[in-house]
Amino acid sequence: MSDATPAALTTEDIVIVGLVAETKEDATRQLAVKLANDGRVTDLDGFLADVRAREEQMATGLPGGIGIPHARSAHVTVPSVAVATSVDGVNFGAADGPAHLIFLIAAPDGADDKHLHILAALARKLVHEDFRQSLRDANSGAEIAAIITREVQS
Protein backbone atom coordinates (compact mmCIF):
# COMPACT_ATOMS: atom_id res chain seq x y z
CA MET A 1 0.00 0.00 0.00
CA SER A 2 2.05 2.89 -1.19
CA ASP A 3 -0.84 5.31 -1.54
CA ALA A 4 -2.69 6.92 1.28
CA THR A 5 -5.89 5.25 2.31
CA PRO A 6 -8.40 5.69 -0.49
CA ALA A 7 -11.12 8.25 0.06
CA ALA A 8 -14.22 6.85 1.71
CA LEU A 9 -16.61 5.25 -0.75
CA THR A 10 -19.53 6.81 1.05
CA THR A 11 -19.83 9.78 3.36
CA GLU A 12 -22.94 11.28 4.87
CA ASP A 13 -22.76 14.02 2.24
CA ILE A 14 -23.73 11.55 -0.46
CA VAL A 15 -26.50 9.71 1.35
CA ILE A 16 -30.20 10.47 1.10
CA VAL A 17 -32.35 9.05 3.87
CA GLY A 18 -36.02 8.93 2.94
CA LEU A 19 -35.63 9.62 -0.75
CA VAL A 20 -38.80 10.52 -2.57
CA ALA A 21 -38.65 9.84 -6.28
CA GLU A 22 -41.22 8.86 -8.88
CA THR A 23 -38.85 7.18 -11.27
CA LYS A 24 -35.46 5.53 -11.28
CA GLU A 25 -34.18 8.38 -13.44
CA ASP A 26 -35.27 10.87 -10.81
CA ALA A 27 -33.73 8.81 -8.02
CA THR A 28 -30.49 8.44 -9.93
CA ARG A 29 -30.32 12.15 -10.68
CA GLN A 30 -30.87 13.12 -7.04
CA LEU A 31 -28.00 10.87 -6.01
CA ALA A 32 -25.79 12.06 -8.84
CA VAL A 33 -26.34 15.66 -7.77
CA LYS A 34 -24.97 14.67 -4.37
CA LEU A 35 -21.87 13.24 -6.03
CA ALA A 36 -21.43 16.37 -8.12
CA ASN A 37 -21.85 18.68 -5.14
CA ASP A 38 -19.24 16.65 -3.30
CA GLY A 39 -16.76 17.01 -6.14
CA ARG A 40 -16.82 13.31 -6.96
CA VAL A 41 -18.49 13.87 -10.32
CA THR A 42 -17.23 16.64 -12.55
CA ASP A 43 -19.95 16.69 -15.20
CA LEU A 44 -23.40 15.81 -13.91
CA ASP A 45 -25.10 15.36 -17.27
CA GLY A 46 -22.17 13.53 -18.76
CA PHE A 47 -22.14 11.13 -15.85
CA LEU A 48 -25.90 10.61 -15.98
CA ALA A 49 -25.62 9.80 -19.67
CA ASP A 50 -23.07 7.10 -18.85
CA VAL A 51 -25.32 5.65 -16.17
CA ARG A 52 -28.30 5.72 -18.50
CA ALA A 53 -26.34 3.94 -21.20
CA ARG A 54 -25.61 1.14 -18.76
CA GLU A 55 -29.15 1.06 -17.45
CA GLU A 56 -30.54 0.73 -20.95
CA GLN A 57 -28.59 -2.44 -21.54
CA MET A 58 -30.28 -4.09 -18.62
CA ALA A 59 -32.24 -2.71 -15.68
CA THR A 60 -30.25 -2.78 -12.47
CA GLY A 61 -33.03 -3.63 -10.04
CA LEU A 62 -32.14 -6.73 -8.09
CA PRO A 63 -33.88 -9.16 -5.77
CA GLY A 64 -34.03 -7.99 -2.19
CA GLY A 65 -35.33 -4.53 -2.92
CA ILE A 66 -32.21 -2.90 -4.25
CA GLY A 67 -31.32 -0.87 -7.29
CA ILE A 68 -27.74 -0.40 -8.37
CA PRO A 69 -27.46 2.13 -11.18
CA HIS A 70 -23.77 2.28 -12.01
CA ALA A 71 -21.16 3.31 -14.50
CA ARG A 72 -17.50 3.67 -15.13
CA SER A 73 -17.16 7.17 -16.34
CA ALA A 74 -14.58 9.75 -17.29
CA HIS A 75 -16.61 12.22 -15.24
CA VAL A 76 -15.92 10.46 -11.95
CA THR A 77 -12.92 11.49 -9.86
CA VAL A 78 -12.96 8.89 -7.11
CA PRO A 79 -14.77 5.56 -6.61
CA SER A 80 -17.98 6.48 -4.87
CA VAL A 81 -21.24 4.97 -3.78
CA ALA A 82 -24.13 7.33 -3.15
CA VAL A 83 -26.86 5.64 -1.15
CA ALA A 84 -30.56 6.32 -0.77
CA THR A 85 -33.18 4.69 1.38
CA SER A 86 -36.75 4.96 0.20
CA VAL A 87 -39.83 4.05 2.20
CA ASP A 88 -42.15 3.82 -0.78
CA GLY A 89 -39.56 2.31 -3.05
CA VAL A 90 -38.53 3.16 -6.58
CA ASN A 91 -39.08 0.86 -9.52
CA PHE A 92 -35.71 -0.26 -10.86
CA GLY A 93 -37.13 -3.09 -12.88
CA ALA A 94 -36.61 -5.94 -10.44
CA ALA A 95 -39.05 -8.82 -10.65
CA ASP A 96 -39.77 -8.84 -6.95
CA GLY A 97 -40.75 -5.21 -6.54
CA PRO A 98 -39.40 -1.73 -6.00
CA ALA A 99 -36.03 -0.82 -4.57
CA HIS A 100 -35.94 0.47 -1.03
CA LEU A 101 -32.18 0.76 -1.11
CA ILE A 102 -30.51 2.46 -4.04
CA PHE A 103 -26.79 2.50 -4.61
CA LEU A 104 -25.43 4.75 -7.30
CA ILE A 105 -22.02 3.25 -7.97
CA ALA A 106 -19.52 5.49 -9.70
CA ALA A 107 -16.11 4.35 -10.83
CA PRO A 108 -13.54 6.52 -12.59
CA ASP A 109 -12.73 5.33 -16.08
CA GLY A 110 -9.10 4.69 -15.35
CA ALA A 111 -9.45 3.48 -11.78
CA ASP A 112 -6.74 1.11 -10.67
CA ASP A 113 -7.25 -2.32 -9.21
CA LYS A 114 -6.86 -1.21 -5.64
CA HIS A 115 -9.73 1.22 -5.89
CA LEU A 116 -11.95 -1.13 -7.77
CA HIS A 117 -11.41 -3.80 -5.16
CA ILE A 118 -13.28 -1.61 -2.72
CA LEU A 119 -16.26 -1.44 -5.05
CA ALA A 120 -16.06 -5.19 -5.52
CA ALA A 121 -16.13 -5.68 -1.77
CA LEU A 122 -19.22 -3.52 -1.51
CA ALA A 123 -20.93 -5.41 -4.33
CA ARG A 124 -20.33 -8.66 -2.47
CA LYS A 125 -21.84 -7.20 0.69
CA LEU A 126 -25.02 -6.23 -1.13
CA VAL A 127 -25.89 -9.87 -1.54
CA HIS A 128 -26.27 -10.29 2.20
CA GLU A 129 -29.67 -9.54 3.68
CA ASP A 130 -28.26 -8.70 7.11
CA PHE A 131 -26.13 -5.99 5.49
CA ARG A 132 -29.10 -4.59 3.59
CA GLN A 133 -31.21 -4.71 6.74
CA SER A 134 -28.63 -2.76 8.71
CA LEU A 135 -28.74 -0.03 6.07
CA ARG A 136 -32.53 0.06 6.01
CA ASP A 137 -32.55 0.33 9.79
CA ALA A 138 -30.10 3.21 9.84
CA ASN A 139 -31.56 6.55 10.83
CA SER A 140 -29.04 8.94 9.36
CA GLY A 141 -26.67 9.40 6.50
CA ALA A 142 -23.77 9.34 8.91
CA GLU A 143 -24.86 5.96 10.19
CA ILE A 144 -25.18 4.54 6.69
CA ALA A 145 -21.77 5.86 5.71
CA ALA A 146 -20.28 4.40 8.86
CA ILE A 147 -21.74 0.97 8.18
CA ILE A 148 -20.38 0.91 4.66
CA THR A 149 -16.96 2.10 5.73
CA ARG A 150 -16.83 -0.45 8.51
CA GLU A 151 -17.92 -3.37 6.34
CA VAL A 152 -16.03 -2.58 3.20
CA GLN A 153 -12.94 -0.59 4.03
CA SER A 154 -11.85 -1.90 7.37
Partner: protein, 142 residues
Protein backbone atom coordinates in the same frame (compact mmCIF):
# COMPACT_ATOMS: atom_id res chain seq x y z
CA UNK B 1 -18.74 -32.09 -5.12
CA UNK B 2 -16.40 -29.48 -6.52
CA UNK B 3 -17.66 -26.58 -8.56
CA UNK B 4 -15.76 -23.85 -10.34
CA UNK B 5 -17.47 -20.77 -11.71
CA UNK B 6 -16.66 -17.70 -13.72
CA UNK B 7 -18.63 -14.47 -13.42
CA UNK B 8 -18.55 -11.38 -15.60
CA UNK B 9 -20.78 -8.47 -16.52
CA UNK B 10 -20.81 -5.54 -18.88
CA UNK B 11 -19.44 -2.86 -16.58
CA UNK B 12 -17.44 -5.19 -14.42
CA UNK B 13 -17.90 -3.38 -11.15
CA UNK B 14 -21.06 -4.77 -9.57
CA UNK B 15 -22.89 -7.82 -10.92
CA UNK B 16 -19.67 -9.78 -11.39
CA UNK B 17 -18.93 -9.65 -7.69
CA UNK B 18 -22.48 -9.95 -6.47
CA UNK B 19 -22.99 -13.07 -8.53
CA UNK B 20 -19.73 -14.53 -7.25
CA UNK B 21 -20.81 -13.95 -3.70
CA UNK B 22 -24.28 -15.37 -4.34
CA UNK B 23 -22.85 -18.53 -5.92
CA UNK B 24 -20.38 -18.98 -3.09
CA UNK B 25 -23.13 -18.64 -0.51
CA UNK B 26 -25.43 -21.02 -2.35
CA UNK B 27 -22.75 -23.66 -2.79
CA UNK B 28 -21.65 -23.40 0.79
CA UNK B 29 -25.21 -23.81 1.94
CA UNK B 30 -25.57 -26.94 -0.17
CA UNK B 31 -22.33 -28.33 1.19
CA UNK B 32 -20.33 -28.08 -2.01
CA UNK B 33 -16.87 -26.71 -2.60
CA UNK B 34 -16.76 -23.82 -4.99
CA UNK B 35 -14.09 -21.57 -6.47
CA UNK B 36 -15.21 -18.49 -8.35
CA UNK B 37 -13.12 -16.47 -10.74
CA UNK B 38 -14.42 -12.92 -11.09
CA UNK B 39 -13.56 -11.56 -14.50
CA UNK B 40 -14.38 -7.96 -13.64
CA UNK B 41 -12.64 -4.63 -13.57
CA UNK B 42 -10.87 -5.12 -10.28
CA UNK B 43 -8.36 -7.36 -11.92
CA UNK B 44 -9.20 -11.00 -12.24
CA UNK B 45 -6.94 -13.47 -10.58
CA UNK B 46 -7.18 -16.68 -12.57
CA UNK B 47 -7.84 -19.79 -10.56
CA UNK B 48 -5.30 -22.56 -10.61
CA UNK B 49 -5.51 -25.03 -13.44
CA UNK B 50 -5.40 -27.79 -10.84
CA UNK B 51 -8.57 -26.36 -9.31
CA UNK B 52 -10.28 -26.49 -12.67
CA UNK B 53 -9.00 -29.97 -13.35
CA UNK B 54 -10.39 -31.20 -10.06
CA UNK B 55 -13.82 -29.69 -10.59
CA UNK B 56 -16.87 -31.80 -11.30
CA UNK B 57 -18.75 -29.05 -13.06
CA UNK B 58 -18.29 -25.50 -14.30
CA UNK B 59 -20.77 -22.64 -14.07
CA UNK B 60 -20.25 -19.78 -16.50
CA UNK B 61 -22.35 -16.90 -15.17
CA UNK B 62 -21.03 -14.56 -17.77
CA UNK B 63 -22.28 -11.71 -19.89
CA UNK B 64 -18.93 -11.44 -21.61
CA UNK B 65 -16.79 -13.99 -23.35
CA UNK B 66 -14.94 -16.16 -20.84
CA UNK B 67 -11.26 -15.25 -20.73
CA UNK B 68 -8.86 -18.07 -21.53
CA UNK B 69 -11.73 -20.42 -21.96
CA UNK B 70 -9.54 -23.24 -23.17
CA UNK B 71 -8.58 -23.85 -19.56
CA UNK B 72 -11.99 -25.42 -19.15
CA UNK B 73 -11.72 -27.72 -22.11
CA UNK B 74 -13.57 -30.98 -21.61
CA UNK B 75 -15.41 -29.87 -18.50
CA UNK B 76 -19.19 -30.17 -18.29
CA UNK B 77 -20.50 -26.64 -18.05
CA UNK B 78 -23.67 -24.70 -17.40
CA UNK B 79 -23.86 -21.39 -19.24
CA UNK B 80 -26.12 -18.70 -17.80
CA UNK B 81 -26.28 -14.93 -17.67
CA UNK B 82 -24.82 -13.19 -14.67
CA UNK B 83 -28.23 -11.93 -13.53
CA UNK B 84 -29.60 -15.42 -13.20
CA UNK B 85 -26.77 -16.41 -10.88
CA UNK B 86 -27.55 -13.39 -8.81
CA UNK B 87 -31.30 -13.82 -8.67
CA UNK B 88 -31.44 -17.57 -8.38
CA UNK B 89 -28.08 -18.84 -7.16
CA UNK B 90 -29.36 -21.81 -5.22
CA UNK B 91 -31.27 -23.22 -8.17
CA UNK B 92 -28.36 -22.57 -10.49
CA UNK B 93 -26.03 -24.54 -8.25
CA UNK B 94 -28.57 -27.33 -7.86
CA UNK B 95 -29.14 -27.48 -11.59
CA UNK B 96 -25.44 -27.59 -12.39
CA UNK B 97 -24.83 -30.41 -9.96
CA UNK B 98 -27.87 -32.49 -10.85
CA UNK B 99 -27.31 -32.29 -14.58
CA UNK B 100 -23.57 -32.94 -14.81
CA UNK B 101 -24.12 -36.06 -16.87
CA UNK B 102 -26.12 -34.27 -19.53
CA UNK B 103 -24.38 -30.91 -19.69
CA UNK B 104 -22.33 -30.14 -22.76
CA UNK B 105 -18.59 -30.49 -22.42
CA UNK B 106 -16.62 -27.35 -23.00
CA UNK B 107 -14.77 -27.18 -26.26
CA UNK B 108 -16.38 -30.36 -27.51
CA UNK B 109 -18.72 -29.19 -30.19
CA UNK B 110 -17.57 -25.59 -30.30
CA UNK B 111 -19.95 -24.44 -32.98
CA UNK B 112 -18.34 -21.11 -33.75
CA UNK B 113 -14.81 -22.43 -33.73
CA UNK B 114 -13.78 -21.93 -37.36
CA UNK B 115 -14.57 -18.24 -37.47
CA UNK B 116 -13.82 -17.34 -33.87
CA UNK B 117 -10.45 -19.03 -33.75
CA UNK B 118 -7.83 -16.38 -34.33
CA UNK B 119 -5.29 -17.54 -36.85
CA UNK B 120 -5.72 -21.26 -37.31
CA UNK B 121 -3.67 -22.98 -34.71
CA UNK B 122 -0.56 -24.76 -35.60
CA UNK B 123 -1.92 -27.60 -33.52
CA UNK B 124 1.33 -29.14 -32.41
CA UNK B 125 -0.54 -31.28 -29.94
CA UNK B 126 -2.87 -32.88 -32.40
CA UNK B 127 -5.54 -32.74 -29.74
CA UNK B 128 -8.76 -32.61 -31.67
CA UNK B 129 -7.10 -34.57 -34.39
CA UNK B 130 -7.69 -38.14 -35.44
CA UNK B 131 -7.55 -36.69 -38.90
CA UNK B 132 -3.93 -36.64 -39.82
CA UNK B 133 -4.66 -36.05 -43.45
CA UNK B 134 -6.88 -33.07 -42.89
CA UNK B 135 -4.37 -30.30 -43.28
CA UNK B 136 -2.50 -31.93 -46.08
CA UNK B 137 -5.73 -32.35 -47.95
CA UNK B 138 -6.69 -28.80 -47.18
CA UNK B 139 -3.50 -27.39 -48.55
CA UNK B 140 -3.25 -29.85 -51.34
CA UNK B 141 0.13 -31.29 -50.51
CA UNK B 142 0.58 -34.59 -52.18
Amino acid sequence: MKIVAVTSCITGIAHTYMAAEALEQAAKKAGYEITVETQGSAGSSPMKQSTIDAADVVIFATDLEVKDRRRFNGKPFLQIGVSKALADAENVVAQAVSSIATLPKDGAAAPAAPKAAPAAEKAPKNDSGDKPGFFSRLFGSK
